[in-house]
């Protein structure tokens, strides 16, 4: 019975966090894209601690990009890495105090994997679920 109550409580917590990712992005992520033209594709997932998401993204040369990984605060410091097709890590936000965004430009058009990992949490705690959105903004140069 106690176990069931714990699960029910955990589930209740989870359901509270499972608000709409769309609303989450709208209300929480827009400001960080100030000065950039946002992308048109909606890329967001709900993840638990320890989960991983991977996005394959193509970037053009000569464009200033901002890659923003906007996540619900209950998930803690979400780690993201940009990895090239050879498996080399181009960027790891763990080296920059888990910054939510990365500003960059490329000399040549490339496809990279963006690997997102939600940190594990104490097993005794209630594992919350939260939205993680991947947003790409760009500045168009004349």
């Amino acid at each position: 019975m106690k176990k069931l109550l714990i699960i029910l409580f955990a589930a209740a917590q989870t359901s509270l966090v499972m608000g709409q990712c769309r609303s989450f992005v709208k209300n929480n992520c827009g400001d960080a894209m100030e000065g950039f033209i946002p992308g048109e594709s909606f890329n967001a997932v709900k993840l638990f601690p320890g989960d991983v998401a991977e996005v394959e993204m193509t970037f053009y040369s000569d464009v200033d990009y901002r890659l923003l990984i906007c996540s619900h605060e209950v998930l803690g410091d979400v780690n993201f890495k940009i990895i090239d097709k050879g498996g080399e890590v181009i960027y790891d936000n763990a080296d920059r105090e888990f910054s939510e965004f990365f500003d960059f430009r490329l000399e040549g058009t490339r496809t990279f994997d963006v690997n997102i990992t939600v940190p594990e949490q104490d097993e005794s705690s209630i594992n919350p679920q939260g939205c993680v959105a991947i947003l790409l903004g760009r500045k168009l140069k004349e």
Partner: protein, 319 residues
């Protein structure tokens, strides 16, 4: 940190869970159904719920799996292609765009979705080239199609008003267009209509490539930068095919996959070589990822590609 569970040989759409903690999720879904406040939009839960139903049977044996790995795909938008066209020295030519008058003739959901993508690319093209009045016209076309697809909630009249108010500010216009398509995309995905989203994305990409190849073809001496950009689309095409395949559970998108495969074939002998990536941080705080991408495309390949893309696009826009 424990290793993530790897998916097996499948492309998965944005919300499709490869491994599911079934019990707590089912409880959570039940509770959230009881407690949720309906604001009129279909919630994420309903999508997740539908997907769990689909996955339940085959995933039960993996009930104990503790990690989820999701794979998503993202391709550059028509706006990026339009910006590339402008930067590469292309001229604006409205003759290449889909005719505004066609908008009322599209009667099936497939035609409407494809042309929502196509008009969206035309809208981006017109806006990037500061063709403000045409931009408003093309925005109206996209609004009409969105309404007919039942997407009025994601594309209301306010968008047209915002466009008109910002008519002289190109970056504001582009932000409004991007926001609008982002809203449409998120609305479609949240309402389990991601195959429509895939049609819009694919048709928009094809229209961007159509405009690029037509502009190159009509120039006496096409800009080498433009040719290079057209060739580089081979890189994003691979990603686009993966994206469309990930939404093709019902086979509704087979025709687009076939069309994209034809374009892939046409790109066949285009060679792309990438030098090693280097990383350096500039004084402006922007990181430069160095490493050139060299592309080689012959005149014959470009000509054939132009023809194939034009044929496919003709099939999409015809009334």
């Amino acid at each position: 940190m424990k290793d993530a569970v790897k998916p097996k040989f499948v492309y998965v759409p944005y919300f499709k869970l490869m491994k599911i903690r079934l019990f707590p999720v089912i409880i959570a879904l039940s509770l959230s159904t009881l407690w949720s406040c309906n604001d009129g939009a279909v919630s994420d839960e309903s999508i997740t719920n539908a997907e769990i139903s689909k996955e339940e049977t085959k995933e039960v044996s993996e009930e104990t799996a503790t990690k989820v790995k999701e794979i998503l795909h993202s391709v550059p938008s028509p706006l990026d292609m339009a910006a590339i066209l402008k930067k590469s020295g292309a001229r604006y030519d409205s003759e290449f765009l889909n005719k505004v008058r066609n908008v009322n003739e599209y009667s099936s959901a497939r035609q409407r979705a494809l042309n929502l993508g196509i008009y969206g690319a035309d809208l981006s093209y017109a806006s990037v080239f500061n063709q403000n009045q045409e931009s408003i016209l093309y925005l109206s076309c996209t609004k009409k199609l969105a309404d007919k697809l039942g997407l009025s909630k994601a594309f209301n009249d306010e968008v047209i008003e915002r466009m008109e108010l910002n008519i002289d500010n190109r970056d504001s216009l582009l932000t409004i267009i991007s926001d609008t398509y982002y809203n449409l995309d998120s609305y479609l995905k949240e309402n389990d209509r991601d195959h429509i989203s895939a049609m819009i994305i694919a048709a928009g990409w094809i229209e961007g490539l159509y405009l690029g190849t037509q502009i190159a073809n009509s120039s006496e001496v096409p800009s080498p930068k433009l040719i290079e950009r057209i060739a580089e689309q081979k890189i994003s095409l691979r990603n686009l095919v993966a994206l469309v395949m990930s939404y093709n559970d019902t086979g509704n998108l087979n025709f687009i996959i076939d069309d994209l495969k034809k374009i892939e074939e046409a790109y066949g002998s285009v060679s792309i070589s990438e030098s090693k990536n280097t990383v350096s941080e500039g004084e402006d705080g922007v990181t430069t990822i160095g490493g050139k991408t060299e592309v080689i495309i012959s005149d014959e390949v470009l000509e054939n590609l132009t023809k194939i893309v034009s044929e496919i696009r003709k099939g999409y826009v015809q009334v």
